[in-house]
Point group: C2
Chain length 243, copies 2
DNA sequence: TCGTGGCAACTTGCATACAAGCACTGATAT
DNA sequence: ATATCAGTGCTTGTATGCAAGTTGCCACGA
């Protein structure tokens, strides 16, 4: 088990690499909401043919991150407050239900995972490392699901919260302190360690709603990245450079 | 509103048609779990090229309905009890949370929709029309979400419950009476009409769990369509005919 | 009879050519 | 100056050819 290279699975295909690259570019706002995309342009940049790029865009479209207008063009989706709200509801339903169904005593390893993610998150915030902060935030919520043996539900939560994540990333442009969020996470873990699931659910719920309320503030600050309810107007423009 | 042809949106592309056809074939068990697929074969049957078929398989793979082994073949996914349980949890979390957050008085139209679906479902059961029965079952649960203004969450629920639906369809092979399910639905609507959301949630939860428990019975009856935990063995065979 | 090696046919992944359609530009007429 | 119309270049959708790899059959040898 030591000399295992862990090459599990086949080598990533050109599509896998293109998909990872593009998805990451979209959620990190490297590709900004509303930015026009072009299969040919992206294929050139990624040094592959249109096929893997096209298939990637098809999957990203299914995730709600890209919109494709036939014979017109493809665009990074604008952040849709409606979808953000939907993601918020789904997340709250799944995470809170999971936590509510978890029964003490809790696995010490899982609780330790939560504490570890929490401390690392504090460091990342202090260092101003936004990417790491978000990765740890995901790790925290994932560990929360694992506490009740519902880690497999993470995939569904993740798929639903893409728009929510982008909105949250927008808020980091102001390099705003994340202390409040860490504080809220801490309250959740404290309640868990105290063996009080009900209190943990309450703390989690108010945390998730605080995150959601923040979206409106972000929207007011950067309205150009949000939909105004009207259909996204297809406008052909020069493609923004990817890296 | 009468002469409106409702042609909203562009005409369906070859990919759209292929995807609809294939997805329907998989969830109705016309294409049985474990059945080998072939892009070329399907392309010929559907009278299109490999491209739309390939893209459809890619999307179905993302939905968990198809498994693709590069250079080996594509197969209809076996029903995975693990995924069925996951779907059950997600469904219960979302539907019950939605119903719990709904506040009386309820919209008379929505309640009427529930009653209508219920009666129609009784007819479909009596007529032995399985497809219609399932369509109405979806309509019922969708209306339940609409009651709390969470109809948009239906998409997420639907995406998660593909394996669950196939398992339920397997049970219909015995032409088993669906009276119990209708009975359970009725209890939910009764509680709603009585303006008692808490009771409705309890009735809904026990209904969903009854559906889930049924899966084990189905698995015992038709184990060849379920995974035994081991990876699905790729075996090349003659492609089952589609329609 | 049983084991083994190689060939043939199939699979999906990727690249590319062609088709159909929309948007923008610019010239032209009013 | 303004409105209209045709052209051009881009877009995505589809079809198809080629490449790389795997499976299973079948002949061959022990």
């Amino acid at each position: 088990m030591a000399d295992d290279t862990r090459s599990e699975g086949p080598p990533p295909s050109a599509r896998d690499r293109a998909l990872d690259t593009l998805r990451r570019a979209v959620i990190t706002l490297e590709l900004k909401p509303g930015a026009p995309l072009s299969e040919n342009e992206l294929a050139t940049r990624l040094a592959v043919s249109r096929t893997p790029v096209r298939e990637s865009l098809l999957l990203l479209r299914e995730e709600g991150l890209v919109e494709v207008y036939p014979q017109v063009g493809s665009f990074v989706s604008l952040v849709d407050p409606e979808r953000v709200g939907q993601a918020q509801f789904i997340r709250e339903a799944i995470e809170c239900t999971s936590l509510a169904q978890a029964e003490p005593p809790f696995s010490p390893e899982h609780v330790a995972d939560l504490r570890t993610a929490l401390l690392a998150q504090r460091d990342a915030d202090a260092a101003g490392d936004h990417d790491r902060f978000f990765a740890l935030d995901e790790e925290f919520h994932r560990a929360l699901l694992a506490l009740a043996g519902r880690e497999s539900a993470w995939r569904t939560v993740n798929a639903a919260k893409a728009h929510l994540d982008r909105a949250r990333r927008l808020s980091l442009i102001d390099t705003r302190p994340m202390g409040e969020l860490i504080e809220q996470h801490t309250r959740v873990v404290d309640a868990i360690e105290a063996g009080d699931p009900a209190a943990a659910v309450d703390a989690l719920r108010s945390h998730l709603r605080a995150v959601f309320d923040d979206v409106e503030r972000i929207r007011a600050a950067t309205p150009e990245y949000f939909t105004d309810g009207r259909p996204q107007r297809p406008v052909r423009r020069t493609v923004t450079s990817l890296k």
